[in-house]
């Protein structure tokens, strides 16, 4: 049984010593509410809820949802935990006060989501999906739609979904076939089948608000003919109460590799009443407005997997005894030495630790960008909004794909530390692998994220957001050029930053002649970028740790932080070299083979 413990010491280090959230909050709406005491209280309470309520349900959830007669029963305890969550007002924490929320900074909501998602990612998907629906309605809905749908979602009385995928298309949403036919009263009849709808049906709440992509009659083909609709499971009465059924039915739930406790539904809309949200045919645009924060959310799954798997592996590595250290017996009085004396076991544990903590640092930095983006939006400064969104948008594919790939790797190390026992369900270690597998697939696969980064964000964006991020890192490098203890980090980081820019130009240059260069380089480019970005955050953490050490604060903690940074630079950053070499290759060896020659069977 894995018992999650909230990494509060690390969280405090990040928000106080590395990023200084209190100064940051001075310029953020709702930031004045986020006093140190308030932040402490919220994080402490989220930690308690995650440790005491959600963590014990993690392995229980693997038993899965049950489906009978169109009804989904979630695993034992899930519903009760949601009741507590709703009553605690957690869903609306970072939502606007005018629609029932508490208006606290988004970054604080990210920490809450991280704690929940690490303790029990699967349970966290239900409120997580609601958040997507809330954001969409907040940004694009009418005032009436907000009063009708956003308020109960914010209060957690209803939950929400995002209905994009259909049997014939996932990534390529231009192929969406679901139809929306206008009614005389201004509403629409929605008809079609959506698949892979997380939280599409469940027993948490009576009503569920579906955000559905569909086509109006005579809409243009492809992505330019898709509109967005709100389609509730139950029609809503004038007084806001739940009315009769709206012909939205769950046809079945999927049998999956993992996230068994999350209902993945086939949703049938059969002339269901829907309400257009945002302009006609601009559905994809509206859907993607908040994509960067959604993807930030998915990156948490990778960080959480690394943290949880590390927390599972560490005690085992200290307790289980096997063989002797090659450098001499460490526990001569015991039958054998503990696993943790073996260098390769340490390599796996430190890899998990470096990914979890490095990923968390990336997340907490990205969350400050999201805060600023929201602040601009709230102030009606659309230029500022777009600028911060771009800055965030540069990091999101790196984090979504990079951190879920690395989190998956970390989960694998967790199983390896256990040896054969890692393969046994009882320990819970293998479940983390199965649950994390999906993170590399949904919200855009790793390949799709990589194209988004290199094709859209970097090349189409003319390197603007790339340059913005580089400027941040280069400023850091400049600030520390004379800091003696930072030298080993700064030297390598500086070299990596120069190479990153140069290699990006190289790829851009090659891509002009051969458009397949972008796709050929993309995934290696993304991982290469991820290792460099994480190296920056490890340097930043080492710097903060050195500062605290100089003041004699919490020596063990800060020493370990610097040692983890050293491990990262020694044994993870060098992987970037292989990716660099591969991403610069000509696409020829990828593209030359005839489709018919891939196999001769």
């Amino acid at each position: 049984m894995i018992q999650f413990k909230a990494p509060l010491r690390d969280i405090n280090f990040l928000i106080n010593d590395v990023f200084d959230y209190q100064t940051h909050y001075k310029n953020i709406p709702g930031g004045d509410e986020a006093t140190p005491d308030m932040v402490d209280a919220i994080i402490g309470e989220a930690a308690r809820f995650s440790e005491e309520v959600l963590s014990p349900l993690y392995q229980v959830g693997d038993e899965g949802c049950k489906f009978e007669d169109g009804q989904v029963t979630t695993p034992p305890g899930f519903k009760e935990a949601y009741q507590q969550y709703m009553e605690g007002g957690w869903q609306g924490m970072s939502a606007p006060v005018e629609y029932g929320g508490q208006g606290l900074p988004l970054s604080l909501g990210v920490i809450k989501s991280e704690l929940i998602g690490t303790a029990n990612w699967v349970w966290g998907m239900y409120p997580g999906l609601s958040l997507g629906a809330m954001n969409t309605i907040y940004l694009h809905g009418t005032e009436e739609q907000k009063q009708t749908f956003l308020v109960p979602l914010t209060e957690g009385r209803w939950t929400g979904t995002m209905c994009l995928t259909e049997p014939q298309c996932g990534t390529d949403l231009g192929q969406v076939k679901t139809k929306a036919e206008p009614n005389p009263d201004g509403s629409y009849n929605i008809t079609g089948t959506k698949i892979f709808i997380s939280s599409g049906e469940h027993d948490f709440t009576d009503n569920i608000v579906h955000i559905v992509l569909a086509r109006l009659p005579d809409a243009p083909e492809g992505t330019k003919g898709i509109s967005l609709f709100i389609v509730p499971k139950l029609n809503v009465n004038e007084d806001g109460s739940n009315g009769d059924a709206n012909n939205v039915t769950c046809g079945s739930i999927e049998h999956k590799m993992g996230i068994h406790g999350s209902s993945t539904c086939v949703m049938n809309f059969d002339g269901s009443k829907g309400f257009l949200i945002g302009p006609e045919n601009k559905g994809l645009h509206c859907m993607f407005t908040f994509m960067n924060t959604a993807r930030l959310g998915t990156s948490i799954q990778g960080i959480g997997a690394a943290e949880l798997s590390f927390q599972g592996a560490l005690p085992y590595a200290k307790e289980r005894r096997s063989m002797r250290s090659l450098s001499g017996k460490k526990s001569p009085d015991k039958v054998a030495d503990a696993l943790i004396v073996h260098p390769d076991v340490r390599r796996m544990l430190l890899t998990q630790k470096a990914i979890a903590e490095g990923g968390r640092a990336m997340l907490y930095y990205a969350a400050t960008l999201a805060d600023k983006m929201m602040a601009s939006h709230a102030a009606g400064d659309m230029k500022g909004y777009e600028d911060w969104d771009d800055k965030l948008g540069f990091l999101t594919p790196i984090m979504k794909a990079g951190l879920t790939e690395l989190g998956y790797e970390a989960a694998n190390h967790g199983v390896q530390v256990y040896g054969g026992h890692g393969f046994i369900k009882e320990w819970g270690m293998e479940q983390i692998i199965r649950d994390t597998q999906i993170a590399k697939l949904y919200e855009g696969t790793t390949g799709v994220q990589a194209l988004d980064l290199l094709g859209r964000k970097i090349l189409l964006g003319r390197m603007k957001s790339f340059d913005d991020f580089r400027a941040v890192v280069n400023q850091f490098i400049k600030n520390h050029k004379n800091t003696k203890e930072m030298k080993p980090f700064i030297k390598q980081l500086k070299r990596a930053m120069i190479a990153w820019r140069l290699n990006t130009f190289r790829i851009a240059f090659k891509a002009r002649k051969d458009r397949d260069m972008v796709g050929a380089a993309s995934v290696d480019y993304l991982m290469y970028s991820c290792y460099i970005v994480m190296a920056f955050f490890w340097a930043k953490m080492a710097d903060a740790a050195y500062t605290n050490l100089a003041e004699g604060k919490d020596v063990d903690f800060h020493k370990a932080k610097i040692q983890t940074a050293e491990f990262y630079y020694d044994r993870l950053l060098p992987r970037a070299k292989a990716h660099r070499k591969m991403m610069l290759k000509d696409p020829k060896s990828l593209m030359q083979m005839d489709e018919e020659s891939f196999a001769f069977l």
Copy 2:
């Protein structure tokens, strides 16, 4: 549903054009029987059995074994398939004629195992475990033991197991506690609990022959006090028929991440009658005699996972339509282009293909070494036997760990090609990941294999077997220094071979000062070695393909082979660089952290 097709074209290319099995068979006992017609017939029949009988049971097997009242029921169809297998005489194919086998070369048995293991690895574990028991009895048993136990095992009427692991120890077998007390009749009473016993109980056969590690009274502590015993489930009557129960009971079966169709048993021995096999206290030595061929067997799981996942992903990549090629529409009349036009999808498919075919080439080469080892053994040439065993032993950790790690990666690519659908059980793609996970754990984890390679085979072995393998590669390089079309391969291979030797010396040198260097470098060293070894075999295949192309033979097949070699050198071999960089690092960043400082929770 995945339907396996035997890669006969590739197998024929390897055994005829790359390794010339017919010439090789001239000097191998039983080789005269292995005429081209016979080889064709056997491979064809094994292919048919694998495709028609075993492949349809692959996904069925995921439903798992049932356990009730000490009895295990295997998945539907498993027992009937075994009946066919037994009647076909498959179990004894490469076993000695004098004990009921057909005496064909071991390498032919490897091809049979590969076909079975690719179609349905889980089913194949039952006869695979028997093979381990057979080898142990053949090498160390008395003539009476061979007549009593080996013959029915060879005929497949009984199956066998290897009972090593106990709750407190897996890798560290020195901790084994199971007791063996001598009886006046020369037999022993075996008492203890063994866990993770594959095929420990099932419904295929009435009797099961357990090979059990246990301690004699007053045996020395640790690994030097362990003896090996034959313990049948049912006592054997004088006439060889099954007698009464022998107090060997299955306490439960494990609930695992994958290989659900394989029974993983807790076995309780309660004064069960056992027979000493091999000398007292030499049990570990006897158990490990055949370890190299056993590990060769496990490496097949990695190759099979890559092949099966590739076969599952390829048709999907050709049929599923999503988005447009960045270099211009490829199917303008269709709603979108097929997945296979996208460079990154090709990268994943080609990675799977290169691993499957590269791994197969390594396997078929290693199988010739095993043949020669067996030939020396049969001729009573123990020096020759040990020499070939050493040559094979150098490759086995590289293949066992390297190919299972790469096979696991390939299985992951298969899921990625499917996108979200890969996560759904119905397609079977995710099952390959779950089933392959165990390959990195059992028969020695990747970490254990890496220590075996670097610590034992290379450093303790004074680089002898390393030099032997390098001589083979260097001869190939020398032979092709003037072959124009091979130049790109030879140039890179030569450079890699020089670096490999140099870096091995570097590590050896550092290890003298710091013993933790071995463990710190080991896994990176193993993967580094694996990429170089596979590069040799890809060069060898490219060479054979060029030769055939020059004669105008089967142009498409041989062109694709060369293109896959080019892909390997472009996009897989460069990974060795990152491993090289990491393996040469000082152990400091791994070893410096205090155990208490790994986490502050």
